[in-house]
């Protein structure tokens, strides 16, 4: 019988997530794995329910992208008691007993924040005298990527006291809110804005529109850094409106399927598997764009 993998996805809240889902579905088909897919509509309790139903269905492996890091002990213990190995994707969990999951494959949000900040630091180094005012578009309040990306970013820019975050507001990871908040930032004329750091590409794309409508040149008058590396971001970079995007690779599917097979075959796997992620500045955008699958 084919291997059965139960996968609990967070939801379909962004293009990134949709690409992630698509990659997993395609890879499962390719690898001949029966995929039981459950969508949690962004709710942790739904994920727990899904995992319980996977246990009841006696699947071979359970994989999931946790909505949030904490709160998994009980249900993972049940999985362990049922003898079903668990793979984490995309983000990790905090559990008292690390043996509750076999491995974690995914990105490191804090590192993404750091990468974004490093790019800004480099830029600042080119003009050592000027102070750079940064505005930040945060993700949804309380969400893991928003917290971690902010943390990583702040950690690195501390190195240069000339870099100041002058405003920070939540754009809820959406284009509409990103645009609205950026509009408001631009109306405040006490300080000039030099850099925009957006927690995801969608907010950056919204903000670019706001900057253009205010009669400024995005990417020139205001440097823009964002995270994810979705197709829209590459288009914006090609047009010279976005300066850099830090990749957060959603195409984990093939790697996940291989892991699932290995885990079932009881092959040893590493506890932490990072995915290859790059930093794409505008210069390489035109070349990279045709390669983007999402």
């Amino acid at each position: 019988a084919p291997l059965v993998l139960g996968f609990s996805q967070v939801g379909a809240e962004s293009e990134w997530r949709t690409a992630n889902t698509a990659s997993i579905k395609a890879a499962a088909k390719e690898a001949g794995i029966t995929l039981k897919f459950a969508d949690a509509q962004q709710k942790q309790e739904n994920q727990v329910k899904a995992i319980r139903s996977f246990i009841a269905q006696k699947v071979d492996v359970i994989a999931f992208s946790p909505v949030v890091e904490s709160g998994w002990d009980t249900v993972l213990k049940e999985a362990k008691a049922a003898g079903i190995p668990v793979i984490l994707t995309d983000r990790s969990v905090k559990v008292a007993d690390p043996s509750l999951y076999v491995t974690f494959i995914g990105s490191d949000f804090v590192e993404e924040g750091r990468k974004a900040a490093r790019w800004v630091l480099e830029r600042a180094a080119k003009a050592p005298n000027a102070a750079l005012n940064i505005v930040e578009l945060q993700g949804t309040v309380g969400s893991a990527p928003a917290i971690d990306r902010k943390k990583g970013f702040e950690e690195v820019i501390k190195a240069n006291p000339k870099l100041q975050i002058i405003r920070s507001q939540s754009g809820e990871f959406t284009r509409a809110k990103g645009k609205e908040v950026m509009e408001s930032f631009l109306k405040q004329r006490d300080k000039k804005i030099d850099v925009l750091f957006a927690h995801n590409d969608d907010m950056a794309i919204g903000a670019i529109q706001a900057i253009e409508e205010a009669g400024l040149k995005p990417g020139v008058d205001i440097l823009i850094v964002s995270i994810d590396g979705v197709r829209g971001a590459f288009e914006a970079m090609k047009a010279g409106k976005l300066n850099v995007t830090v990749e957060c690779n959603p195409l984990l599917g093939p790697q996940l399927m291989q892991l699932a097979k290995d885990v079932v075959a009881k092959k040893p796997v590493e506890k932490r598997i990072t995915v290859n992620e790059g930093v794409f500045p505008a210069e390489v955008a035109a070349k990279e764009l045709p390669n983007r699958k999402y």
Partner: protein
């Protein structure tokens, strides 16, 4: 149709029974379609996974029966997990004290909303909507991040499995929820307070003229709902072992839907607290069906949930229309 049939359809609890029968059909459909569906544990999981929703729905039943609505329950739940986690992990309070405090806090939060609704004669929808923002916002003031709980009492309650027959088990949370349902039934149908709640929902002006304690009851109803929400928060904390400001987003709508599906009328006065159980189970069953199916994309998940909800409500409604014509 026979007179016997009339007696059945004419009974006021008819809608509630329709829910139960439809639920049976839904379950039978799942059992034939998916392997492993027809197991005791799948049924018990409905209770385990939805214990917190059931507790909220019991509180919500009272509010809706009284002709009001409480949108703040989901946020109060989240706030409870957050406060409990903070007190346990950061302030290192004893678990028992934390439990008592958050329960009192939830009741007080609800009572406060009740007072505002009653004294200023404001609409419950708006007051509790603001309450919803407030409680959610307070969570993030404590911490934007989630806090893991490792207090022994919570961990034990989380991981205890109460064994039933054949390897199947229930969680303590589910047992507490069933107990709350029992108490709710008793309060609604056997105490003066419960009957005043129904009277309020039937006609508030009349209740006032009948000399019933309208103000007191109203405040108490919201306090009760707040208490249930914070108890649900504790169950949630047992269930997840974490406090988090994003917990239970949109649970208020699930609870309202559960109560209404259970046969309670949203304008108040008609319905049964027991309906909350069938409503919660229906929603849980729909989710379980989808999880067992395992082929639906995110959007088909939404469409199927909406579709099943529609079929359920429409059948229920058509049957009771027939009853009206009979």
């Amino acid at each position: 149709m026979t007179p016997r049939w009339h007696a059945i359809t004419g009974a006021p609890s008819f809608t509630t029974w329709v829910s139960v029968v439809l639920m049976g059909l839904l379950f039978a459909a799942g059992a034939t379609a998916y392997t492993g569906f027809a197991s005791t544990q799948v049924v018990l999981n409905l209770l385990i996974d939805n214990a917190f929703l059931l507790v909220i729905a019991v509180g919500m039943s009272f509010v809706i029966l009284s002709g009001g609505i409480d949108l703040s329950v989901g946020s109060v739940l989240a706030l409870t997990t957050m406060v409990a986690a903070w007190l346990l992990q950061v302030a290192h309070w004893p678990a028992e004290a934390v439990i008592v405090l958050v329960l009192l806090g939830g009741a007080a939060f609800g009572a406060l909303q009740g007072v505002v609704i009653h004294v200023f004669r404001l609409q419950p929808f708006i007051v509790t909507l603001a309450g919803m923002f407030l409680a959610r916002g307070l969570c993030f003031l404590i911490s934007v991040d989630s806090i893991t709980i490792d207090a022994p009492l919570f961990v034990t309650l989380s991981q205890t499995q109460i064994p039933l027959w054949g390897g199947a088990f229930l969680s303590p949370g589910a047992v507490i929820a069933l107990a709350v349902l029992g108490v709710g039934l008793w309060v609604a149908h056997a105490t003066a307070f419960g009957r005043t709640v129904y009277a309020l929902g039937g006609n508030e002006a009349s209740a006032l003229m009948m000399g019933l304690p309208v103000g007191r009851t109203k405040v108490a109803v919201y306090a009760l709902s707040g208490l249930c929400a914070s108890l649900a928060g504790l169950l949630f904390a047992f269930y997840m072992l974490s406090g988090y400001g994003q917990h239970a987003q949109g649970v208020e709508l699930d609870a309202i839907a559960a109560v209404v599906i259970g046969g309670t009328v949203l304008t108040g006065g008609y319905g049964y607290v027991a309906g909350a159980l069938s409503g919660v189970l229906v929603l849980g069953l729909i989710q379980t069906l989808i999880a067992f199916d395992g082929t639906l994309s995110s959007w088909w998940t939404k469409i199927v949930i909406g579709g099943l909800l529609f079929v359920f409500c429409a059948v229920q409604r058509l049957l009771s229309l027939k009853k009206a014509h009979a």
